[in-house]
Amino acid sequence: MTTNFFYIKAESEKRKNRRAKRKQKELNLKRTAIKKQNKKRRLQTTVETLRNGRKIHKVIIPIGDSISLFHDSDNVMRIVNLLNRFSLPKGLQRHLELDMSLVRIVDIGALSLLLAKVNEITKSRKVIISGNFPLDDNARDYIEKSGFLDYMIDLTGRKFERHSDNFLVRIGDKKTDNENVGYLIKKCMKVITGIESHYPPVFSIIQEMSGNSVEHANIDNKNWLLGVNFQRNELGEIEEVLFTMVDVGFGILNTINRKWSTLIYEGLRLTSKTDILFRAFERKYGSSTEEINRNRGLPLIKTISEKKQIIELKVITNNVFLDFENTGESKVLRKGLPGTFYCWKINKECIETWNKKTI
């Protein structure tokens, strides 16, 4: 019995050791991958002298292999935070170069956010921003068709040629731009239904979002961007329109007003940030303006989504990702977003739902 006992114990010990070694190996592999990644992402900074003798501080920011808000939001936040860090007015004038050569995965959310950030930085601070194209054909094609290049010039100072109907547009500066938004929606409706008409649910939510942005954004750098991306099916027909909205500001969690009692209650119940954000969309908190008649906008956005007048509504604000249709996918991100990002889609079914309702 005793021998057997030792024999079994020795086997379990061996198994334990093997498991520990395997774990260690996996950990080492992970560490090596992270080190490689960091090496790829290491910044190169140089001081260049211009023809007129002026010196300029050039920083190359490696984007890495993905710039996607949905697949690798941490990397997008890292880039945004780096842009923030190096755009501070300190010492020499800065030239920030975005090295996109390794990019393979890209999405419209990340491009909108990047563009909004670039707009903000170049508007208020003396910073030059440039970039290169991904070597990957698909990624390059995506960027060319996204509308991102409408705001860029090539090395000869010329504007890039348009490759699609998609666009990213700045709607307003210090004020909302209702008419422009209305026209854009009419254009989208023509693409989906063939008839140029209003679509009040989308107009309303864009107005809510830009209204929030105007009210809460920092005064000098108000900046929000609407993206419209036509999504085609296998036959090349436009099936859905993806809208993205980026507001570079404080973010929703920094503009809600929670009472002390609520803070203590939520603290004791260990309420997660995703739940807090979700509750903000249910009008559970007050506004930072402390007026009782406020905070109807976020619940309205949620209601429009629940009524299926828009689909696939997702929000990223501060460090929380909220998916309204798949709530289980909502999560707290490692790095925070300086502002709020919304995306949603509309298709024929959404418009039919709306039309049925109004008959």
Binding site: G172, K175, N178, V181, S204, Q207, G211, I292, R296
Partner: protein
């Protein structure tokens, strides 16, 4: 009170804007001061109802409606407004519920607490129901 005055938001703008004038064109604040305040005062004086038609525009931000109808309650009281206004919104019935069930009671509370609305632009004198009379002046 069979007769009615009729006010279409579409005649003011096809693209209603944000809450305040300083935030954008065709705001709720502007709609109130350019249209709603005077039309409601006329209806009240003639003892007829004012019908406000919200349809056929591009859509609304809740803040536009909140500021417009909220100011009306602040200047004329919840009772006067509820008894003398009718809102048409066939395209989005929820706006009617929101205005009557949420906006108006909240602004009546503000009125009772004497928390005046913010004005982001200088407006011409406007009407307010005080005691038993309607007075016209620059209140803020």
């Amino acid at each position: 009170m069979e007769q009615k005055n009729y006010l279409r938001v579409l005649d003011f703008t096809e693209y209603p804007g944000p809450r305040y004038c300083e935030q954008g064109n065709n705001s709720g604040e502007e709609f109130y001061h350019k249209k709603l305040n005077l039309e409601f005062k006329n209806a009240l004086e003639n003892n007829i109802k004012l019908t406000v038609d919200l349809d056929k525009t591009a859509g609304y931000a809740s803040s536009f409606l909140d500021e417009a109808f909220g100011n009306l309650v602040f200047d004329f009281s919840l009772e006067k407004v509820k008894n003398n206004i009718e809102i048409i919104s066939n395209e989005e019935k929820d706006w009617i519920t929101m205005i009557f069930d949420m906006v108006m009671p909240d602004w009546e509370k503000r009125r009772n607490e004497n928390k005046p609305p913010k004005k982001t632009q200088t407006h011409e004198a406007w009407y307010r129901f005080i005691g038993n009379t309607i007075e016209c002046r620059k209140w803020l």
